[in-house]
Symmetry: C2
Subunit: 589 residues, 2 copies
């Protein structure tokens, strides 16, 4: 037997290794896969995230302040840092205490962040008092002298609570106007804040024409936005949340109704209303009107904080100004639509409305094959039965009856015939020419190299006639037709997982038996060439490529938890069919 | 013409409405779809999220403290509230300032949160000083008298900085031991913290046997965990991050090497090492050892904060203790694997490592059909060409040439033959019997009701022979074979989107024409019955069911951004094929 075996020369006669030429399932060349949430990532080095800094107060209730900002940053895949100006004690009903942080300690925090971590964008929220505002401006000027622009400073001029109470005194507002607005890239006031700032700004030549500083029309919004830009910001986003318009007439909701917006029992026919956020870009002299549906809900605590944080996060990711604002607005609208009830008062936005969790973690240097590792763990029992099967043990110690091996080789040839068809199906379902070709290459390989399989069988005394007249065993029919069915009813990842247990398992078996001191090695083992073949560099490289392709497909598809269960089921079933194939071979069924 | 038309009785002769019996694409009855991240959600009411509270310090650098906690809560779909004990000025290199919050203001924040918002879990981190610790304990006792347990209090006894410096003085540690540990559900010390607490605890009858209070073996860890539990906690999670073991021998890494763990240039053969987190559940008297891979990286700032926050978030979601700890540990390991470089010093965990964003927002009361709305917006131009086609206008004002309508009706019959096959394909690809049956029902409907279609054509002077001998127009071949190809190569959502433009578009057209004052209505319009049919309650209900099913499929599949592009392409192409079908009909091509 041994003699018969080692008269065989190269190429290695074992057919499974030929199934996996370099591109098993190549990715479509375009469109490119979606970028991961933070770029600059490689699997080999901790990556540098996009960073955003919030300078604001703490809201113990979690709906606004730095809490809303950090939640927004995190949801948008941005690393958040924070400089606290004050700590508030509040819940959904009231703010019952404010503890201002000493101005020099605010500056110290800012210095700590900017001197080491840096940032791609900054947003400011509640700045507490004039001294703190001056300290922030001074520190910003220190780190960003006139030659070096502040990265994307978004200023949310928080100064009036929902209740109408002023959160900044006159001195603070004047300091904000004098010290911060000249540094500001995007200013995001709502209508009352815009009115308030302009009433204090004492513009010498104001465009703002409203009587008694009232903004109560789209035209007035335009004048106000232009005037605000004259205080420093490149862009003013004047938020129209307090000023619903009738869609048809373009008129604002009458004052007496506007005052009742928060009373949900008052009928408003909100579907006839819309909001307009107005963007004035002073650099290009252009207005952009963002029309938004009027969402009548009380879950709006933290809307302003969240919007400015989302804009800052988007800018940190490199989005252009208008795009950052539009996407920020969409994020907030979705967060309001999916709003939360958290206490007895006003509800909050749902900051994680759009967050779903990966069912399979990102590939990293520590775990480059998370899908494969997950599947091997999820199917550990069946996997062990397959890779440590008695047939395999017989191969290892050379005790496998020759008849069993011959039975196996015959069925394996028939197996390959259908396996070739499965790859033909892959070529049919492929979305690109390159992908089709990769599958077709495998079919061609199988067809060509199957001649070597025949040659090899001949050495074992098996004739071609005998092989092709052998009826397919039930285990063979079950396995191959299952793969075909998965290929027909599922997608290419399903198909990839149906063929993966064969690919990966033979690779593991080859490696293990080759290295195991208990394996009977060399001429003494009639199956030594078989072991060497699957341990060989060619086959192992094919395994690596196959795994890499499955991982890339998975990383693009980002299967939901529900979908992952389906994928596990395919992998587990194909693994069980491998066990059954060994059973069949061993017992010559 | 009109005469011919209105002699037709019911049932409505138009065939497309029969394509959509109640279950177009029913969901498989099990397994149930994955739950949304927060439960208690209905599309009609702002939902109550799972809530977790952190009581800790602020880390301006964003990697630890309440920042790490809020990032963790958010990533795990938990609404975070926070009580600040102190504000630190720090970055990745150093802590250069600590501003303690007055103890009564800490208590005030805690009262604000607990009196209104409440919480499903609490974690404590850096508690700053004895006065603050006492104030927290007092407030917790006030809200949770002995008859009402504190919900899931996880105590991370932050007391030693990475540098080894003590963050709590002796008085604070003694207060923590006396006031907080008796209230604690899960205590999560690392080895140095465990040693430190036990050295201060003055247990009368300590199990802890290490010489000079050193924990340097798994056995000592077990003694220490038991001793710590005697101070109050139900469960002690003693973290072994500082105590790597050799996998084979079970011995700890020698002291001289352990001290160099952070120096990545020193070779350690880390693959031979593992960590053990030890869980002691004093209620059941059981140990659980969690063996973890040893990840050698410097991106570990905030690990302890993050783990206790993740455990609290998991408990808030209702997970059982052991499961909450294990999953919390997995979250942290993944966050370390995907660690970040954020400054010049120690890197941070990536808290959003597993976060992917929904490409389609969650259905809400404001937007119950986000997929459909997205597709209609993404394909707006083609959609308008389809639903406002000249053929449709001719139907509306009755000016469509009879010959065009007849041509249309003949091709529509042929269309239905292949449409039936497309549903047969759906029955083949279905994953459950119920799903198969729903598709098969549609095939049966089409076959049965096609007789009515023939009858209707007869009234227009078209014979059955004429219909079946009509060659399929190119537009018809293109449309129907495209649908079949998508059905064969894609999944059921692809198939659903290939047939959706027909379903939804005819519904929109029917509604618009019926309500449009410019439509020629009644007997004066030969096509009035056609309009009425698609405006009819039966057809509109079928549209509603079809849309609802697509939305549910989408909500389960949670398509990645890449996958959504594919889905858009299917919907857009089928829409363009509808345009081409009208062109064909109008010009009798």
């Amino acid at each position: 037997m041994t003699g018969v075996f080692h008269t065989l020369g190269s190429p290695p006669p074992f057919s499974r290794s030929i199934l996996f030429p370099p591109l098993l399932i190549p990715l479509p060349p375009h469109p490119p896969p979606p970028a991961p949430m933070a770029t600059e990532s490689t699997p080999h080095k901790p990556h540098v995230p996009f960073k955003a800094l919030t300078i604001a107060g703490s809201d113990s209730g979690g709906g606004a302040g730095i809490q809303a900002d950090l939640k927004t940053f995190t949801s948008l895949g941005t690393f958040g840092t924070s400089v606290l100006t004050s700590v508030t004690s509040q819940n959904t009903l009231k703010v019952d205490g404010i503890h201002p942080i000493p101005a020099d300690f605010v500056a110290q925090q800012l210095e700590a962040v900017l001197s080491d971590i840096g940032t791609n964008a900054i947003k400011t929220g509640m700045l507490c008092n004039a001294e703190i505002i001056a300290a922030i401006a001074k520190t910003l000027r220190k780190f960003y002298p006139s030659t070096r622009p502040i990265p994307n400073l978004v200023v949310d001029p928080v100064m009036i609570a929902s209740s109408g109470a002023a959160l900044l005194d006159t001195a603070a507002i004047e300091t904000l106007i004098q010290e911060i607005l000249p540094l500001c890239h995007i200013l995001t006031p709502n209508v009352p804040e815009a009115e308030y700032i302009l009433s204090k700004a004492k513009l010498e030549n104001p465009l703002f024409k409203a009587e008694s500083s009232k903004i109560d029309s789209l035209e007035q919004m335009k004048f106000a936005a232009q005037d605000l830009a004259r205080l420093g910001p490149s862009i003013v986003l004047l938020k129209g949340g307090h000023l619903p318009f009738y869609k048809k007439s373009g008129k604002v909701l009458p004052q007496e109704l506007a005052e009742k917006i928060d009373d949900l029992s008052v009928k408003l026919e909100e579907e006839e209303l819309e909001l307009v956020d107005l963007i004035w870009d002073a650099r290009t002299g252009t207005f952009t009107e963002l029309r938004k549906e009027f969402l009548r809900t009380s879950s709006t605590h933290g809307t302003g904080c969240t919007l400015s944080a989302a804009i800052a996060a988007n800018l940190a990711h490199g989005l252009k100004d208008l795009n950052a604002i539009i996407r920020g607005g969409n994020y907030v609208q979705s967060a309001i639509r999916d709003g939360l009830t958290v206490g007895q008062g006003k509800g909050c936005l749902n900051h994680f409305h759009h967050v779903v969790r990966r069912s399979i973690e990102k590939p990293t240097r520590f775990n480059p094959h998370p899908l494969t590792n997950h599947l091997l763990k999820a199917c550990a029992d069946d996997w062990s039965k397959y890779t440590h099967h008695k047939f395999v043990q017989g191969i290892a110690d050379g005790t496998l009856p020759k008849e069993s091996f011959i039975h196996y080789m015959k069925q394996d040839y028939l197996f390959l015939q259908t396996y070739a068809r499965a790859h033909g199906l892959g070529a049919f379902k492929a979305k690109t020419m390159a992908e089709s070709k990769a599958f077709a290459d495998i079919v061609v390989h199988i067809a060509t190299e199957s001649k070597l399989h025949i040659d090899y069988c001949t050495k074992w005394g098996i004739t071609y006639e005998e092989i092709i007249n052998t009826p397919e065993s039930m285990a063979n029919v079950a396995y191959t037709r299952y793969v075909l069915d998965i290929g027909m009813t599922g997608d290419l990842l399903d198909l990839g997982l149906a063929i993966a247990p064969c690919l990966i398992g033979y690779g593991q078996i080859g490696n293990r038996l080759y290295n195991d001191p208990n394996t009977l090695k060399g001429d003494a083992n009639p199956y030594w060439e078989w072991i060497k073949s699957y341990h060989g560099a060619d086959y192992q490289a094919a395994v690596d490529r196959g795994i890499a392709n499955l991982e890339r497909q998975c990383n693009i598809q980002q299967p939901s938890a529900h979908r992952l269960k389906q994928l596990e089921d395919v992998f587990r079933t194909a693994t069980r069919l491998e066990v059954s194939f060994w059973d069949m071979a061993l017992h010559r069924l």
